[in-house]
């Protein structure tokens, strides 16, 4: 391009070689010819305005084609934000080879149609947003990063991606919500937001698009076929008959009825199968597998696996795992000045088999022995009868007749009379525990920390409640069973021990805390969830082996509990110590109905706006102005060639 103006100048000045010829007079020729006084280069330049104008026009045209520019803080041209959904549902094969690959193909088209001035950003989005490529006009870089987007097993939540996109597009939005002075950190940069997804995302509420112009590109077939295990858990009744059942809930997310075949494995050995499980279209079916005999003699952590053998469009939700851990007695500490009824219920019957009970007096709470036990979490459950510790122990606690001095629990006065009006039967602790006929003389009204659930209500408020404390839970019974008056006389504050609700409550409590600790119940651990690992006191570091056999070392973070978050893979994770002794196993399953339901969402709702998706070719504007500019340059060159053949008029 740079040679074009040079060529014009050369054509103009060098092309004509004139032979000199003496004539009688140039008088008449001068009157005919208008091109005069061509004795020097500068005179030509001075007198030929046309040359200057045409050179100037050529330079402008060339500059236009070459896209002159310089680094700046403001972007010009169109901006695109490409959000590619790589959640679990995008691994469905109803689009060949998969929905994610189809989404990447569509995104590739958008990149391909970018104009030279356009810039684009690439975001991969599941329940986390990852900026794969920041704003760039480099098409090859965008395409390269697009290829690197891999499918995940995570759920879909594009709110993070929208927040990241809106941060640049909309003015006046602070990056630091806590700062009052940090406002309007960026100038508005309107952008077109392409969302390549099947729409199986969490509804985004209270979100303002501002300068974002979303375009929802539907990915997926009209009638996908998918069967999924949306719930799989083991239930172990340790206190009663040590029964163990596997509960499964199977869904048919397709438009036709299905007859499925399911297989149940224990440690990769087939133990049960169900054939011709009939499930109607868009319906569910619950199944129970009795594993009591199979797992009776299991001493170590056992993997239970359920598989749907029938093929469908998404294989990830056709397998679910659960870990069976052989029950061990619960280490329970009872701190009391003397409560025969409570001691009796914990020491007798099946509860005795399920617990290792230690009884101490409140003075024990001041001992060094207790301090060590409390801080190291040596007990699984501590029952404080009319007493409380000075420091919160690293254990679950049950307070009887005492409001703990822990954060969030509010002190109150003893109130009377106590008329119990309701109990939370749905909570495992209150299962079959009927408190309506229980008489209580006086009790505290309970108000616990955020997340506290009332288990039993009296007329004036909650009298039994369960509240969270870090990784533990505390149950507070707001009335004592027995008490002492000022003279030291022991009196009965409630006739609760006389009701069947009393032993049932304690049985439920032992069961509840035993399950909680052993991790033998698998419910709702999804890919990406954080898992609390219970490491023994003697273990400072452990190794987590993922389902693909990758070993990840971890350090004990706090007391006996450590959080592990690298749970993207589906399957069984094993936690072992340095001596390769298995400490714990846990399972990650894709049991999310929203991800398993592969039906493509027609409209995406963002805030108060709805956007209809398009599955056709993405509308882009192709511009051909460059070819017209090149044509203009060619015409100009031809004009110069033709013009120079003529006499300058």
């Amino acid at each position: 391009m740079a040679l074009v103006p040079i060529a014009i100048v050369l054509l103009y000045f060098l092309k004509l070689r004139r032979n000199p010829l003496e004539v009688p007079s140039t008088y008449l020729w001068k009157r005919t010819v208008e091109d005069m006084h061509v004795n020097s280069l500068w005179q030509r330049l001075r007198n030929n305005l046309l040359l200057f104008l045409q050179i100037l026009l050529i330079l402008f045209l060339i500059a236009t084609v070459l896209r002159p520019g310089c680094p700046g803080t403001e972007l010009e041209g169109n901006r695109f934000i490409l959000v590619v959904d790589n959640s679990a549902s995008m691994a469905a094969t109803d689009r060949d080879p998969s929905r994610l690959e189809m989404a990447k193909t569509k995104a590739h088209e958008v990149i391909e149609n970018m104009q030279p001035n356009d810039v684009a950003m690439l975001i991969a989005c599941s329940d986390q947003a990852s900026i794969v490529q920041s704003y760039t006009s480099d098409k090859e870089a965008l395409k390269s990063r697009l290829k690197q987007i891999k499918p995940t097993n995570r759920r879909s939540d594009i709110s993070q991606a929208l927040t990241a996109a809106a941060a640049l597009a909309n003015p006046g939005r602070t990056a630091d919500r806590e700062s009052e002075s940090d406002v309007q950190v960026a100038e508005p940069n309107p952008a077109e937001l392409y969302i390549f997804s099947d729409g199986r995302v969490q509804r985004i509420q209270q979100f303002s698009l501002g300068y974002l112009t979303p375009k929802y590109v539907q990915i997926g077939s009209p009638q996908p076929v998918n069967y999924a295990i949306i719930d799989f858990s083991l239930s172990v009744e340790r206190v009663t008959e040590q029964k163990c059942n596997a509960f499964a809930r199977i869904a048919n997310f397709s438009s036709t009825d299905a007859s499925l075949e399911l297989l149940l494995y224990v440690n990769d050995e087939l133990v049960d199968a169900r054939t011709n499980v009939e499930i109607r279209s868009n319906d569910f079916q619950s199944l129970v597998f009795d594993l009591t005999d199979v797992l009776r003699d299991a001493l170590t952590a056992t993997t239970v696996r359920l598989e749907i053998e029938t093929k469908d469009d998404l294989a990830a939700d056709n397998i679910a795992y659960a870990i069976y851990r052989a029950p061990r007695p619960l280490d329970v500490l009872l701190v009391t000045t003397g409560n025969p009824q409570l001691e009796s219920v914990l020491e007798t019957g099946n509860l005795n088999k399920a617990t290792n009970l230690t009884i101490e007096s409140p003075q024990h709470l001041k001992s060094r022995q207790y301090e060590i036990a409390a801080t190291q979490g040596q007990f699984d459950l501590i029952v404080f009868d009319r007493c409380e510790p000075q420091i919160a122990p690293e254990s679950n606690c049950i307070f009887v007749g005492q409001i703990p001095a822990f954060d969030g629990w509010k002190k109150s006065e003893l109130l009377a009379p106590v008329t119990i009006i309701d109990s939370a039967q749905v909570h495992p602790l209150m299962n079959n525990v009927l408190m309506n006929s229980v008489l209580v003389a006086e009790a505290y009204s309970l108000e616990g920390p955020y997340g506290t659930a009332s288990l039993c209500d009296a007329a004036f408020g909650s009298v039994i409640a369960i509240g969270p404390r870090n990784e533990f839970e505390d149950v507070v019974v707001g009335f004592s069973i027995v008490d002492e008056d000022d003279t030291g006389t022991v009196f009965q504050n409630t006739d609760w021990p006389k009701h069947t609700a009393f032993p049932l409550f304690w049985k439920n409590a032992i069961d509840y805390f035993a399950k909680r600790i052993s991790g033998s119940v698998v419910t709702g651990r999804q890919p990406g969830d954080q898992v609390s690992l219970y490491l023994p006191q003697s273990v400072e570091q452990a190794i987590v082996t993922t389902p693909d056999s990758t070993e990840i070392p971890i350090q004990k973070q706090k007391s006996s509990q450590t959080v592990f978050s690298r749970t993207e893979q589906l399957g069984v994770y094993k936690v072992s110590d340095d001596d390769e002794l298995t400490l714990q196993k846990f399972a990650i399953n894709l049991t999310d109905s929203n991800e398993s339901n592969l039906e493509v969402v027609e409209k995406l709702q963002i805030g108060h706006e709805e956007f209809t998706g398009t599955s056709n070719e993405i509308d882009v504007r192709k511009e051909y102005w460059q070819w017209f500019v090149i044509g203009a340059i060619i015409v100009l060159l031809i004009e110069w060639i033709v013009y120079n053949r003529r006499v300058f008029i």
Partner: protein, 298 residues
Amino acid sequence: MISPPSPNALLSPALLARLEQMELVSRKIFRGQMKGERRSRRKGQSVEFADFRNYVPGDDLRFIDWNMYARLDKLFLKLFLEEEDLHFYTLIDSSESMNFGDPTKLHYAKQLAAALGYIGLCRADRVKIETMDQTLRQRSPVFRGRKSLWQMMSLVNEIETKPFENLESAAKNFALRNSGKGILVLISDLMDKSGYENALRYLLTKDWDIYLIHVLSEAELEPDLQGDIRLIDSEDQDATEITVSPRLIQRYKDTLNQFVSSAKQFCTRRGIAYTLSSTARPVDDLILRYLRQIGLVK
């Protein structure tokens, strides 16, 4: 011995023979200084009766018309037309531009001047041939009678192109040098960038019977040029670059025609006889036909 220049170098014997039969004609009758063969308005002694006048004591008695005395009993004197000579001037443009053509315009002009001068000498006219490069004090000899033929031819032969200021100054000098009335034949290509109009005006102040013979070469009338040319003016070395094309040639011809037309119109309005001639036209053809048509010769 140096032999005198032969008139045959400029004029052919056949042309000379024909020129002897011709004479220069003036549209105006001028008084010459000597008695020639021209009829003068002045009344003198000749055989041709012109008029009567009353006798005055002292007149020659031989010219008394006795017939008129017998009839009218009064004395009358006969008056006769006196024969006088013609002043014939030839002013030749000797600029460098006249040195082009085949034959050159200057040679053509010399032939023409010699031919017309020969006619004048044969009729005992006063012939004076000058060039435009002559300064105010440079005077050419006057030739009279056949005996001056060789001198005239010699003078004409020696005429060469010499630079001079312009037509206007040359004409001015000529007009100041020559006071006698007569015929002036101006032979020029009029290729003066400062124009010819003022030059002709200077010449008109002398009340001469002016004939302008506009001589152009064939190359000037029908230029045969091609390609890209840098034209150099022979007089001032001025350059003009052209790229020859049919359109350009046509435009040149249009310019030439316009130039010739304007010159003719200028002359016609002022009583100057204008003739355009190409050097390709033979001199005898010019004299015997075109100059006869415009009345310069008969």
